[in-house]
C-alpha cells in the first residue's frame, strides 16, 4: 500500500498533465482563498465563502446564458458573490448577528436558491477557450500548467499582486489589518471598525464569486448545484494552511489543488489507491498543519471577535 502510494506519487509528479490539472483545480481555491485572506485579516472567518462561490457560479452561468459572453458571465459571478458578501457583512458587522450563524445560513440559502432556480431556469454555459501564452507556455513541466489554461484562469495572476498591494501597500489595507488585529485600538484611532470589516467581506465575496464563475466558464462548462461541494471550506483551510500570509495561501491552494489532481489521476494511471483516503487528504492535511504549525504563524488576534464599541 505504501510502496504503491510512493510510486504513484513519483509517477504522477513526473507528468506535466498533473501540474496542469493541479493549477486548474487549485485556481478556484486561490481565487476564493485570496478573498478569504482579506476578510480574515479584517477579523471575519467568512464561512459564507462556500455560498459566495456557488452564487458566483450560478450567476455566472445565468450571465453567460443570457449574453453568450464569458466576460459578462464572470462579471455576473462577481456580482453573485458580492450579494452573499453583502448579507454576511451587514448581518454580522452592521447588525450584531453571530458571523458563523450568518455564514452557515447563507450557505444553506444559496444552496437551496441555486438548486431551485437552476431547476426553474436551467441555464447553459460553455467552457472558455484555452489560450496558450507564447514562449511562457514552452517552459517544460510548469509552462503548460501555468500558461496553457483557459483564459479566465489568467485573471488569477494579476489578482495576487493586486491583493498584496491592497493589503500591504495602501492605507485601506493598513486599516483593514489593524481592525483585524486590535479592533479597540483601531476604533480609538478613528477607524470605523465595522465598516472596514464589511468592505473586507465584500472583497472576499467578490473574489469567491469570480472563482465560482471561473469554475463554470473556465473549468467545468456546466452548472450543477452540487459542484462546489465543500471546496469553499477548503479555501478557508488554505488560508489557515498558509498561516495568513499571501504566499502561503497561494501555496496552500496549489497543494490542495495537487491533492485533488492526484486523487483524480491515480485510477487513470492504473494505481489502486484508496479513493476515500485521497478525498479526505486535504482536510487531514489542514488539520495536521493547524495542529503542528499554526502556532508559529500568528492569526489575526481579533479573528472572529465581533466589535461593539464599549464592549469587549
Amino acid at each position: 500500500m505504501i510502496g504503491d502510494f510512493l510510486s504513484a506519487v513519483f509517477d504522477i509528479f513526473g507528468s506535466s498533465t498533473m501540474y496542469g490539472s493541479a493549477v486548474r483545480l487549485g485556481a478556484l481555491l486561490a481565487f476564493a482563498g485570496l478573498g478569504e485572506l482579506v476578510a480574515e485579516k479584517a477579523g471575519t472567518i467568512n464561512i459564507s465563502v462556500e455560498g459566495s462561490i456557488l452564487a458566483g457560479a450560478f450567476a455566472g452561468t445565468v450571465g453567460y446564458h443570457i449574453t453568450d459572453s464569458t466576460v459578462i458571465g464572470l462579471a455576473a459571478g462577481v456580482g453573485g458573490g458580492l450579494l452573499v458578501g453583502l448579507i454576511q457583512a451587514n448581518m454580522s458587522h452592521r447588525l450584531t448577528a453571530d458571523q458563523f450563524v450568518v455564514g452557515l445560513t447563507a450557505n444553506v440559502l444559496v444552496l437551496g436558491l441555486a438548486g431551485f432556480l437552476n431547476a426553474a431556469i436551467d441555464p447553459m454555459a460553455r467552457r472558455a477557450n484555452i489560450i496558450e501564452i507564447p514562449l511562457l507556455s514552452d517552459i517544460p513541466l510548469v509552462g503548460p500548467a501555468l500558461f496553457g489554461q483557459t483564459w479566465p484562469t489568467y485573471l488569477l495572476y494579476p489578482l495576487v499582486p493586486l491583493t498584496w498591494w491592497l493589503l500591504y501597500k495602501t492605507r485601506w489595507g493598513l486599516e483593514t489589518r489593524a481592525v483585524g488585529e486590535n479592533p479597540q485600538a483601531a476604533d480609538v484611532s478613528g477607524i470605523d471598525v465595522n465598516k472596514r470589516r464589511r468592505q473586507a467581506v465584500y472583497y472576499g465575496g467578490m473574489l469567491a464569486g469570480l472563482g465560482g464563475a471561473f469554475l463554470v466558464v473556465g473549468q467545468v462548462g456546466t452548472f450543477d448545484a452540487g459542484m462546489v461541494g465543500g471546496r469553499g471550506f477548503i479555501a478557508i483551510a488554505a488560508v489557515y494552511f498558509g498561516g495568513w500570509t499571501l504566499g502561503g495561501v497561494v501555496l496552500g491552494s496549489l497543494v490542495f489543488g495537487m491533492a485533488d489532481a492526484f486523487r483524480l489521476a491515480t485510477p487513470v494511471l492504473g494505481y489502486q489507491l484508496n479513493a476515500q483516503f485521497l478525498a479526505a487528504l486535504p482536510y487531514v492535511l489542514t488539520l495536521l498543519v493547524m495542529y503542528f504549525i499554526t502556532k508559529q504563524f500568528r492569526q489575526p488576534s481579533g479573528l472572529a471577535q465581533p466589535f461593539i464599541r464599549g464592549l469587549r
Binding site: I45, I47, I87, M91, L95, T96, A97, F100, V101, V102, L104, T105, A106, V108, L109, L111, G112, L113, G115, F116, L117, A119, A120, A225, G230, F233, I236, A237, Y240, N274, A275, Q276, F277, A279, A280, Y283, V284, T286, L287, M290, Y291, F292, T294, K295, A304, I308, G310
Partner: protein, 377 residues
C-alpha cells in the same frame, strides 16, 4: 385645569418599567415583520417562477401534517434534528461552537451499524448498546476538535467543520470495505455499497397514534429536551456551563476549568449528534442500512434548529417539528411542479429573519443606554 407637577423619578426602575413593555412590543413587532418578510420573499420566489404560492403552501401542509399518517413521519424526522439541536444548545451555552454535527451524526450511525450487524445478541440489548456507543462515538469524534483546541489553540469552528468531510470519507470507506461494514450478503444482485440492514429485532419500536406511526426515539428526544432544560437552568452543572459561556474570565476565577468544562460541552454536543445518528439508523432511516449519503443534512438542519430556538432547549421542540415539517412537506411538492429545494430557501430565510430582531433590539438598547449615560454625565 391645574398644572400637575409630575415628580421626576429618581430611581431608574420607574423609568424602565413602562419602557420595558414598550420594548417588548417593539420586539414582537419586529419578529412579526421579519417573519412575514421571509415568508413573503419565499412566496414571491415561487410566484416569479410561474407557480402558485398557495398551492405550494397547501402541499407542504398536506405533506407535513394533514394527509393521513404524515405527522408521524414528521415526528420521525424531527427526533434526530431535536437531538442534534440539544447538543448544539449545550455547546453554545458553554461558548463552544461545534458545527460538525453532520460528521458526528455519521459516527454515531456507524457505531450503531457496527453493533447491530456485527455483534450478536438479543435485539433490544443491541439497540441500547448501539445507542450508547453511538452517543460515545459522536462525542469522541467531537473530542478530537477539543483536543486540538486545548493542546494547540486550533479553533473548534474550523476543526469540527473539516472533520465533517473526513467523516464522509470514513463512512464511504466503511461501506465499501468487506471487513468493515459492507453488506457481503451473496444473495444481493450487485455488490452493495451499504451496510447490512439491522436485524429485525434490533429496531426501535413504533408507536401508532391515530394511524400516525413514529418511533420512540421521538419520545426519547422530548424527554431529553426537558432534562437538558432543567439541567441547564436549575443545577450547578448548568450554571457552570453558562458561566463559562458568558464570561470565561469570571468562570476561571470561580474555579470552572475552561478546558474541562469546555471539553465536556464539546463532547456532549458531539455525543447528542452521535445519538441522533444512532436513532436515525435504528429508527429506519434509509431502510436500516448505513449509506454514504446517510446523514442527508439532518446535522446541518439540527444546528439551524438550535440557532432558530436561540439556544432554548424547550423552544427547540417546536422548531425541530417546523423544520421536519418543511422536509416531509417537500415530499408532496412534486405535484405542484416546484422544485423541493424551495424548502431549503424557506428554512434559511426563516433563520436569517429571526436573527434580525434581537440584533436590532440589541443596537437600540445600546443606543438608549448610551443616550442615558451621556444625559446623566
Amino acid at each position: 385645569m391645574t398644572d400637575l407637577k409630575v415628580p421626576t423619578p429618581e430611581i431608574p426602575v420607574v423609568v424602565t418599567s413602562p419602557s420595558r413593555w414598550h420594548s417588548m412590543g417593539e420586539t414582537a413587532l419586529l419578529y412579526v415583520l421579519s417573519f412575514s418578510a421571509a415568508l413573503l420573499l419565499s412566496a414571491l420566489l415561487v410566484a416569479v417562477t410561474g407557480n402558485s404560492a398557495t398551492q405550494v403552501f397547501q402541499a407542504l401542509l398536506d405533506g407535513a401534517f394533514l394527509a393521513p399518517g404524515r405527522w408521524g413521519n414528521t415526528f420521525v424526522i424531527a427526533a434526530p434534528m431535536l437531538l442534534v439541536a440539544l447538543g448544539m444548545v449545550i455547546g453554545v451555552k458553554a461558548g463552544v461552537f461545534n458545527i460538525g454535527q453532520e460528521g458526528q451524526l455519521l459516527m454515531g450511525a456507524m457505531a450503531m451499524a457496527w453493533v447491530g450487524t456485527k455483534w450478536g445478541g438479543p435485539g433490544p440489548l443491541l439497540v441500547v448498546l448501539g445507542l450508547a456507543l453511538g452517543f460515545a462515538a459522536g462525542g469522541a469524534y467531537a473530542a478530537v476538535a477539543s483536543f486540538m483546541k486545548i493542546r494547540r489553540g486550533v479553533p473548534e469552528v474550523i476543526s469540527t467543520l473539516l472533520l465533517v468531510f473526513i467523516a464522509f470519507q470514513i463512512v464511504g470507506f466503511a461501506v465499501t470495505t468487506d471487513w468493515m461494514l459492507r453488506d457481503v450478503d451473496p444473495n444481493r444482485p450487485t455488490r452493495a455499497v451499504t451496510s447490512a440492514a439491522l436485524p429485525d429485532d434490533a429496531r426501535l419500536p413504533f408507536l401508532d397514534i391515530f394511524g400516525n406511526e413514529f418511533h420512540i426515539g421521538f419520545v426519547l428526544a422530548l424527554v431529553l429536551a426537558v432534562v437538558i432544560a432543567y439541567l441547564l437552568a436549575r443545577t450547578v452543572w448548568g450554571f457552570h456551563l453558562r458561566l463559562l459561556g458568558n464570561n470565561a474570565n469570571v468562570a476561571q476565577k470561580v474555579g470552572v476549568s475552561a478546558n474541562r468544562t469546555g471539553t465536556m460541552a464539546l463532547f456532549l454536543s458531539g455525543a447528542f449528534a452521535g445519538l441522533a445518528g444512532a436513532v436515525m439508523l435504528t429508527g429506519g432511516s434509509s431502510t436500516y442500512r448505513l449509506t454514504t449519503g446517510f446523514a442527508s443534512n439532518i446535522g446541518w438542519q439540527g444546528l439551524l434548529v438550535a440557532l432558530l430556538a436561540r439556544s432554548r432547549p424547550l423552544l427547540c421542540i417546536p422548531m425541530a417539528i417546523l423544520f421536519a415539517a418543511l422536509r416531509t412537506g417537500s415530499g408532496f411538492l412534486a405535484s405542484t411542479g416546484v422544485d423541493r429545494k424551495i424548502v431549503d430557501v424557506v428554512q434559511a430565510l426563516l433563520v436569517l429573519a429571526l436573527l434580525i430582531p434581537p440584533a436590532v433590539q440589541f443596537i437600540r438598547d445600546r443606543r438608549r443606554a448610551l443616550a442615558t449615560a451621556t444625559e446623566a454625565a
